[in-house]
Symmetry: C2
Subunit: 440 residues, 2 copies
């Protein structure tokens, strides 16, 4: 039996061991999903505190159920975490779920993929499948990851090991679609890699969609999130115009949604947050620049998005101006620093950017978020949330809705507040503005 067939036979018998590098919001759900299907999973973490937490079955990811983690770690023992990367040699398939941030010049920071590739190259056994899940620019799997693994291992891709790209599609807080039931795109390099990758992922994921190459799979994820960036930016720009024309953009969007074909609703806000949409399109912009290609749509959308926090600062300043107050010296209370409703994740949160700008202009800034008691901004400054009370609301010169968590008692907040800037349509009854409430 050839190496490919024996791998497939092993898959058939569920005897493969899966390695997951990076146990964050992508890796942990993925590991638990495989383990729940009875597949043995080893989780690799550089951060020993996190590895220990996993091994205590102490959950830290909202999309993972506590009882599922408990089950696979403590009962079936199908899942364990380790900081010992030499154990990568125990794995048949290794999935890389590490972050790919952008540096401040919007250049992709490939250091986590690089170090994972080095770890894999130095430790893996022959006949391993390596799958990259981290969002990155097209060609990364073939032109960046593969050469590092070959160099470090002395092995040959397509003969001694196989590679594929299979983008994570985790949508934190989505109650309908989790790792298991979200269709997964799989792009192996060559037919052998594809057969093996489809087999491995098929052990845990309900629907797979194969594409012809890793680069096509890389492009899929970028297209999905570029689509979102562009549409949110479009609606942000239209929202600013609509406000000037006495049109309530949220009413317009609700009405457009009644079109039964050819429309998908996006909503305005103080900017774009999270780990994907503000970043992914710029991976593509980066690689495109390398071949002298300007992505004007992404660039324009990025500009609009980057300006939104400043525009929100202006909104707050001009709302205070109505009360004959300056930003300088005014108390501004922000409500919500999570980047979307009902989650506890402040990554790339536009609220933080607005807070920072407003504070720079001399305002006394505080925030409340029911899910985030303290938060660090990009300069490392730690903000500590305040509790909402009649008094804390009434003391603020301006209250700003930046995340529309569904648990917030909006009516009470508005009643208590002196002045409200609403960037999220939290106060539905107000058209564009009234004497107290100003909408984006």
């Amino acid at each position: 039996m050839g190496v490919v067939d024996s791998f497939l036979a092993k898959i058939e018998k569920k005897e493969v061991v899966i390695g997951v590098i990076g146990l964050g919001y992508v890796g942990l759900p993925l590991a638990v999903t495989f383990a729940r299907k009875g597949v043995k999973v080893l989780g690799f973490e550089k951060w020993d505190k996190r590895a220990a937490q996993v091994n205590e079955a102490s959950n830290y990811i909202g999309d993972v159920k506590d009882e599922d983690l408990m089950l696979v770690v403590k009962e079936t023992k199908k899942f364990a975490a380790t900081t010992d990367f030499s154990r990568l040699k125990e794995c048949d398939a290794i999935m890389i779920c590490v972050p790919t941030p952008l540096d401040k010049f919007k250049k992709p920071d490939m250091s986590f993929i690089e170090s994972s590739s080095v770890d894999i190259g130095r430790n893996m056994k022959k006949g391993t499948l390596v799958s990259l899940e981290s969002t990155t620019y097209p060609t990364t799997t073939e032109d960046f990851m593969k050469p590092i693994i070959e160099r470090e291992s002395g092995m040959k891709e397509g003969v001694d090991f196989w590679i594929c790209f299979s983008p994570e599609r985790v949508d934190p807080g989505n109650h309908n679609y989790k790792t298991e039931n979200t269709p997964k795109v799989v792009g192996g390099l060559g037919p052998d890699a594809q057969k093996i990758a489809m087999g491995v992922y098929g052990l845990a994921i309900q629907n797979l969609h194969g594409v012809s190459s890793p680069r096509a799979a890389e492009m899929v994820k970028i297209l999905e999130n570029t689509y979102r960036l562009v549409n949110i930016s479009l609606v942000n720009e239209l929202a600013l115009l609509a406000g000037k024309m006495d049109i309530n953009i949220w009413e317009v969007i609700e009405a457009a949604k009644t079109k039964p074909y050819g429309f998908q609703a996006f909503y305005p806000g103080p900017g774009i947050g999270g780990h994907c949409i503000p970043l992914d399109p710029f991976y593509l912009e980066y690689i495109a620049k390398g071949i002298n290609f300007d992505l004007t749509m992404i660039n324009t959308a990025g500009n609009i998005n980057n300006l939104m926090p400043y525009r929100m600062m202006n909104k707050i300043a001009f709302a205070l101006n109505r009360h004959c107050k300056a930003l300088n010296g005014s108390k501004v209370l922000f409500i919500g620093v999570a980047y979307k409703p009902d989650i506890d994740d402040p990554r790339e949160s536009p609220a933080l950017l607005v807070m920072e700008q407003v504070a720079k202009k001399g305002a006394l800034v505080s925030y409340h978020d029911p899910y985030i008691p303290r938060v660090k901004d990009e300069h490392g400054h730690e903000w500590v949330g305040v509790e909402l009370s009649d008094r804390s609301i009434a003391e603020a010169d301006c209250v700003v809705f930046t995340t529309n968590h569904s648990c917030l008692d909006v009516d009470w907040i508005v009643r208590m507040a002196k002045l409200v800037v609403d960037t999220r349509n939290a106060v539905k009854r107000v058209h564009i503005e009234d004497s107290k409430v100003f909408k984006l």
Copy 2:
């Protein structure tokens, strides 16, 4: 009983007479839809040939069924057309379905709305509802149409007559959604107008969605089509990049479509056509400029779209170049001039723009379209289609797919052709290019 209540009572008894101005692809289906519900409809047309055609029940709009027109004109006699605009006084509700083109400087040409408003003002009786359906920039109904009607009639809006905006959502060739079952957005000026407008439209349309003002309703239609322009432009730009990176953009789109939330597929092509998407966003850009607001997303999307025909010309030139041929003197056969598949409408067709550019460079251009035997370009030059045959295909130095009509025998065309440029993914088996076929 007040005037509003007596109007509502008349609606209740289906005794209202509807006037429809403009019997084109919007007005004719609308008129027939009301008439089929047993409401009396008068169609107003400046073009006497078209009025005569209607009165002979001779159908000229693909989305209207011949038998429906026959039924309401000849049998129930609920619908008749006229060129006599003085008969507007017979109508209780008048719907304006005239075109709103852009001039070559992308300035909205309001002359048809203007002349309709004059006709209405001079002829309508007291107590009429006037509804504008033509796509236009927000504020048109209140700030452009209303003053003309008031001036010409000497009547007062809100007292002697009412106005609303209710955007047409006709999607030619859509087999699932016709006028009757496509939800309709209705924005009356003030509560009386809204009550009456909802009542009138409710006689024929299954689902109505009321908004708070005509300007909100105007914005709805612009948002819907701006969304499409922006997304098609985005995917066109990504397609050009993908081609350079050896990525098949259509494969990527199909894979992205497997994401069960947060994505809607748009496809690349040689540009954007039809009567809506290339125009509507620029109405908004026009009015935004008037208040010093630059719509950068629309502007960027428009630029990409405008460049597509030139990029397609380059594609054709470089495909011919592989065969050591210049555009100048080469025979180029275009297949499809309709702006989308399976319809007979060449309005704003990007194919015509490509044909024009290629002809300018000295190519001998011909075209075939199974639904469009002859077509005029924007300079008034008439093109006459050729039949497809083994010979007509083989004689061309390059065959260009510009519309993917589903009836085309693509395999045969490719087999017979010397060279193919495929802007629509008609030739599915080819990845990006092979020795004969070059994709966008």
